[in-house]
């Protein structure tokens, strides 16, 4: 389960970039063309993220958009957080941190922004932050389930968790975890409990 089988989607929401922008080219070179999506309008990017909450995602988000019809990067971040804490967001801004208002900083800290980075022509730090986010996602329980599903070639339709009132397929469990429902939280808690139990009994490597 250590090998990543299901790639993380990189979603770039930035109005100054296009398909040939160096950062986009570098990201597609590092990941793959189909796993890096670019949106020049914040609402379109937001809709894509919200429509794909069942997938592992890192969002590289611009703070400011010139088009009056677009909403700000901060608003996009808040809208994502209204639905899930499991999408990692890297916010980039041409502004210095001193230019952020107190309220803006409160939102970013309290709603668990993954990273904040000043936008310059040196893309290595941004690519490094995205890599860090991708690695963090792959350490989560939902990512492990997704990889387990692929490794075991299990039918997506077959119920695998049977509870008192429902049967869930792996896809449905993933959805429950990523939507942070009580079923999803309970599942993650059980896996965490197992990890602690195995460590306490010196059985951390299952035979």
């Amino acid at each position: 389960m250590s090998t990543e089988l299901v790639p993380t989607k990189i979603v770039v929401i930035h109005d100054d970039m296009d398909e040939n922008y160096p950062l986009i080219v570098m990201l597609r070179d590092k990941y793959s063309k189909e796993d890096v999506s670019l949106f020049k309008h914040s609402k379109e990017g937001l809709n894509f993220v919200l429509d794909n909450l069942g997938k592992k995602m890192v969002v590289l988000l611009d703070k400011n958009f010139k088009d009056k019809n677009d909403i700000s990067g901060l608003k996009v971040f808040e809208k994502i957080r209204e639905e899930t804490a499991l999408v990692f967001v890297v916010l980039i801004s041409a502004n210095n941190i001193a230019d952020f208002s107190e309220d803006e900083l409160k939102i970013l800290v309290n709603k668990d922004l993954f990273k904040l980075e000043k936008f310059t022509n040196d893309y290595t730090s941004i690519i490094g932050l995205i890599e860090e986010a991708v690695n963090s996602i792959d350490m989560r329980v939902d990512a492990a389930i997704e990889d387990w599903l692929m490794a075991n070639n299990l039918s997506e339709e077959r119920p695998i968790l049977i509870t008192e009132t429902h049967q869930y397929t792996l896809k449905q469990i993933l959805h429950e975890i990523r939507m942070e429902t009580s079923v999803g939280r309970d599942f993650v808690k059980k896996v965490n409990n197992l990890t602690i139990e195995l460590i306490m009994r010196n059985k951390e490597k299952i035979q």
Binding site: M1, A144, I145, W148, N152, L154, R158, P159, I160, L161, I162, T163, E164, T165, H166, Q167, F187, K190, V191, N193, L194, E197, L198, R201, K203, I206, Q207
Partner: protein, 200 residues
Amino acid sequence: MISTILAIDERDHILGDFYTECLLDLENFENNRCLIKAIKSNSLNELAISVSIPLEGGFIFLAYSHGSDTELLAGGVTPYISESINTSLFKNSFFYTCSCSTAKRLGHILIENECISYIGYKEKFEIWDYNRVPFVDCANYGYKLFVQGDDVKTIIEKMKEKYDEHIDNYTNDIFGSAHLLANKRALIALGDLTHNINSL
């Protein structure tokens, strides 16, 4: 022969397949101490329970169906055992169930009504269905130990060891282990822990 009554909802649309495998395993468990009389889905109700329980002497009661804090349910809806209808019927019994949550309250009520001992779960009993065998094995193991003569305290200890054995050997399926662990932690015994089949 000790009378053993098995209430089993093998046609339940969610857990029926699991209960059916438990039933097959119990039917294949050879012993000369107990004779199981099964009350299946098509007749699983309060009346069938009341007419099946021996008028005299101790007996074993097994329940494989949906449960809640205070009830055992047919089809997940209709109570066939609950505080308000029939908990007094289980006087002098060993009561064993893998139903959800009945150890929270129903088990205590049964003991208050002179059921000698109870083994069951204080939380949801959930099944990770990639490999069902360990869940069936753990669900039935305590009953088999009781038939073989272990007392209730020993049964709980051995059941937890059985859970650990499956947790540790659950190759390639950490999620199965996670659910076995949750079930293990929810497992408890109530009443007289020295109770064994020879005292029935």
